[in-house]
Each structure stands twice: as C-alpha cells, then as structure tokens.
Symmetry: C2
C-alpha cells in the first residue's frame, strides 16, 4: 500500500486519537494505532477500552492493508515532519514515512491482535454535532469526580418526544440542558464523564449531523469522517426532577461574567474548608462577601431585583462559579429560600438550568 | 500609612516576588511578604532563605510603616482587582485594599519576625543588566540537576581583567560565556543554579546597569528598583579549561535551528536509554540518524565543510540540543575526534562555547 496526504490533516487526526490512545496500558495492544489504507482514504483507529475512535482522513491511496503502529510515537513523528506532504508505504512489515528531507521506518504489528471495535450501525436519532456537543459540555462540570456513587460519574442523555436532555449531578448540585428536537423515542443512557469529554472534543471538530446508535451496551456516534463508540455505564441515574424547585420566593438578574469575576476575587479570602461566599441582595445592589482566617473580601455589583427585596444566602464559591460557567450573558438567579435549592438559568438560553444548594450556616 | 499605585506595576512586582516566596516552608515566616511604605514608594521584600529580593514600586505614599502579609495571597488578590488603581491603608493591624467595587482587609504580621536580609552595599563591578542575564542564561542548562557533585549544581561567575565569564558543567558537558568588560579584578564565585534562574528573571526586567557586591557569602545585585542577594555555594569549581580541546581535526558550519529541528524529529526514534543520534558528515551533506527498537529515523541537511571530508560521530541527542540552544544563527561544530570532546560555538557570537563529548560506541 502507498498513501499520500497533507501533514496537517494527518497530524490533526492523530492529535484527536492520541487523547484516546493510552501511553501505557496493562493491555499493551491498546497503545497501538490501527492504520489502514482504504479506497476512500486513510483510516485510523484507536481505543482505550472505554472508547473506540475511528477517523478517516482523505488521502491518495493505492493498494489496501492495515497495520498497527505505536500511537504516541506516530503522533510525535508526524507532528515534527518538515514537509507539508507525507508519503507512506508498507515495505517488509515496516511503515516507511517520508516528508521533505526526513525519512523513517517504523516497526508495525498485526491488526488481528487488536480487540474488536464496538461500532454499531443502528441509527436511533440524528442531530447537529455542534448542538449535541453544547448540551453535553454545558452539564459536564456537575458530574462527580469521586467514588461516592459510581453513576454520578456519568452524564445521562435522555431522549423524549420533542427534546434531548443532557443531565449530570454529583448529589450536591445538578445541571441539565434541554435541546428541542423533533424526536419520538423515550430512552435514557449514561455515558462516563471522561468519555463525555472525548465525545465533546470529537463533536466539536465535526461538521454537520451526527447519528446516534445504541447496541451491546455501547453508544455509537457517527458523522462525516469519524465514528466513536463509548461503553455505557450500568445502573440507574437517580430521579432528580424532585430536587428542582418549582416555586421561588425571589428572583434576580445579574451579568454572569461580572458575578464570576467577583466570586473569583472574593473567594481568595474565603474559608478554605467550605469556600463560603455570601450573596447579600439589597434592592439594586448585590454584595459578594467572603471571610476567612486571613481576612475579608467584599464587592458590590448591580443587579436587577424586585424593589425593596432583601435576602442573604451562603454558597460554596466553586459550585456557584461552575453553575455560572455556561452562562454567556445575563444569569437568572432564582431562590426558593436561604436553606433550600437555588436555580441558575441563562436568560439568553432557555435550555440550561443548574441547581445549587446553599450552605447551612 | 496610605499608599496609592497602579494595579499593573504592583501586580508585576508581586509576580516576580512570588517566584521567590515559598507557598509553604518549614520556616513559616518566609511565606510572608514584607510590605513597607517609604517616601520613595512601596517597598516589597521576600525571601526563600537562599535568595532575598527587594523591589521598590513607585507609589504615592503618606506616612511610613512596614507589615508582613501572606505573599501568595496578596499576589492573588492584587492580580484579580477590578480597578486600575489600588489604594491601601493600614488600620488597626489590618491592611485594607480597595480597587473599583472591591475591598478587602488582610490580617498582617510583625516585620520584626522576618529573618535579616543579606543585601550588601560593596560595589565590586557594574555592568549592563541585560548582558549579565545573557551570560548566565546561555550556560545555565549545563549545570547539573542531580546530587552527583554539589558544586556542579551551580553557575560559576568569574571576573578576570578584561572579561566576565559564566560557566556551568555537570561533569559530562560544559558551557561558558565570555563577556568583554573593562574589569581589573580576578575573582570567582558560584551561584546555585536555581538562584541563577531567578537572577536571570529579575535582570531581564531591569533596565540599565546592575552592580555586583560580595559580602558574607552572598552576592548582591542592585539596580534601579531592586536589590537581590543570593547565598553563594561553598566548594571549589573544578579546573575545566583542560577539557576544552585546543586542536581540531574537522570543522563544519550548519544552521543551528535546522539542526535542532532535525535532532528533535530524529531523536523520537532513538534508543531510549542513551538517546543516541549519529551525525554522519560527507562533503556538503550531514545525515542525522537514530535507530531504536521501534524503528529508524534519518534526515539530510546541508552543511559547510571541507571538501572530501568524512566523519561519523554519535551523541546523546539531548546534550546536542542543549548545546545548540543558545545559538541563534549558524553554529560552528568543531571536532577533535570521534571519541574526544567536540566544541560548539555560535558563528555570530564569539562569547559562547559549549563542550559535548561523543558517546562511546
């Protein structure tokens, strides 16, 4: 087989695959990249056992054949190539790569040694890749990084008639994003948060529509140029709807960026154990206050709030910052009481909703 | 005391001091920053026990007084301030800082608890700060990071009639930089490499001349706006002159950037234990070759070399890359034999000289 392609597209595809391919693994074959000459181009595959990723890069190809090559090594070699064009050929079991004044020969392995890939064909639903990326990316922060309850380390995707929802929670806070879509199914599944991160990265590179398929405990995403299969989590995501307050005693609007900046400044002074900051609303003014053993910080912001309204609430600053993170412009802060769950929404994007619980003080 | 100054200059000075002030220390007072109102401005001091650093920032000051403030905390607070101007006042033992809509009060400590600073006044020599920075920075890489021989973890500064020299070695390679200066003294002292790094950072910010003083085992550098005292190393730097070859069998000239790029590409394939790359000279062509268990890499470069000359040498790729690092344009590669020390110089800067020993193959 012989393959010619631009260094740039080759190198870009490898950098996405390198995020998946482990540097070391107890299953050593997973450190290998599957490289295959196909009539339609160069097909590259990698897996970490949780995610299988396949990227097809347009290339001039003659002949067919597949080999395994050390993944990280190939990435390093290709990124450093001096020319704009890369020429590859398989000779006597070695992969020869030439570009400009540089040439290399890499030992290769037998593709039969690679574990089976879990791509499925069944098309459950199809939607714009960028929208699915946005939904997952907006809620990802709320998933747990700890061992507390395994299912909380995942992002649940729900299909409902008329909408797709992504939701994540660590038991202390929750984020969800609703995407209006002409769907008919009723289905839910949970993707591990780490896989969700890779899915977002891959979707962000994709143009156009992505199709979703479910088969054998795997979610398959397929779009122009790539396929990705992610192992789903087992177990039930808890019923979370009841923690979202339906009635509110008070609502304010504030510029999300200004509040984030203020929280970052003030939290430096906060108690290091609970990261407590106080939001003190008084008419058109919001005071953000923190106090710890090293001192006290204090900032005043303008807010839109009902006239004469006064309210004081304490939060973990990190949770507030996370919840405000996906809000681009004005945030709606909706309070059900000083000791019960608060809701943060994006005034410019109805799809996003975050629940944060005040600290008990 | 009351102090007003621009956030930008305050924040810049703190970021330099934060490099010195430890986050944690067995001597907890070292995590504090000395903040002092002086008629000439705001004086800031920090120390890690090895380096004492003092920076004076122009400021409007009324009253006098000095306090200790947690160093990293102050840096964080000031970087995040919303306004362009910072106003500070000392009230009841607390430092009040205001900027824009934000205000804070920090607990402070007694400056008498701080260890004595080691700044000396004696002026040994004075030279442009940028030149001293260049000399130290060019040779720093060759100092050892390991425990092998303590003195090798330092950079020696030598004063000779007519020149200043910086030199570093780890016993395997050596770098020196000569700066022509109208000096009269004969003197040498060794600065720990980590302190040398901080000295370079501080000198790079300084404008104009810097004066050097030696007193009580410390080197003091003083220039407009700052003073720095660094504890010197004890022990004798070895006699290194004899390892610099005086006669050469072969000399080539090559673009340092092109050779570095090529070494970076080829070394990916090198044996992981000795990082061996081969330089194979043949007339106007240089081949850079590496071969390891994963494959073989090979690149051809143009060189200027004597007609008909052929030579083959093996090096640790990392050592070659380090030695070429400070060379901006063309490098002179001078060989005394395949098994004896090689010299790398900068064709455009006579001050720099590096010694690298070929691998035994």
């Amino acid at each position: 087989m012989e393959i010619r392609l631009p260094k740039r597209s080759f190198s870009e595809a490898l950098s996405v695959l390198e995020r998946v391919i482990p540097t070391r693994s107890s299953n050593a074959v997973l450190t290998q990249l599957w490289l295959e000459a196909r009539p339609e181009g160069l097909l590259l595959r990698g897996s970490n056992g949780e995610i299988d990723l396949e990227i097809t890069v347009p290339a001039e190809v003659s002949g067919e054949g597949a080999r395994l090559v050390p993944g990280q090594l190939l990435g390093q070699v290709v990124r450093g190539l001096p020319g704009e064009l890369v020429e590859m050929a398989l000779e006597g079991g070695e992969l020869e790569i030439e570009s400009g004044s540089f040439s290399t020969r890499l030992a290769t392995g037998d593709p039969d040694e690679f574990p089976r890939f879990n791509f499925s064909a069944g098309e459950l639903v199809s939607l714009p890749a960028a929208e699915l990326a946005r939904a997952i990316q907006r809620v990802r922060y709320a998933a747990s990084n700890e061992d507390y309850r395994a299912i909380f380390r995942g992002v649940q995707i729900e299909l409902h008639p008329g909408r797709l929802r992504a939701v994540a929670s660590d038991g202390f806070r929750l984020a969800l994003y609703d995407l209006a879509r002409p769907l008919e199914q009723e289905k839910r599944f949970v993707v591990p948060a780490r896989s969700a991160d890779e899915i977002v990265k891959v979707l962000e590179r994709a143009a156009g529509e992505v199709s979703l398929g479910l088969e054998g405990g795997h979610l398959t995403l397929a779009a122009e140029g790539f396929r990705l299969a992610a192992a789903l989590m087992e177990g039930e995501f808890p019923e979370y709807e009841r923690v979202i307050p339906a009635e509110f005693v008070f609502e304010a609007r504030v510029d999300a960026g200004a509040l984030r900046d203020s929280l970052k400044r003030v939290k430096v002074l906060a108690d290091r154990n609970n990261h407590r900051v106080d939001l003190v609303f008084k008419g058109p003014e919001l005071q953000v206050v923190a106090e710890g053993e090293l001192g006290r910080g204090n900032e005043r912001l303008e807010v839109e709030a009902p006239e004469g309204a006064e309210m004081s609430l304490a939060y973990n600053a990190e949770y507030l910052l996370d919840a405000l993170g996906p809000v681009a412009g004005a945030a709606r802060l909706r309070f059900s009481g000083a000791a019960s769950a608060s809701v943060i929404q994006d005034a410019g994007d109805e799809g996003y909703l975050a629940v944060v619980v005040p600290l008990r003080v």
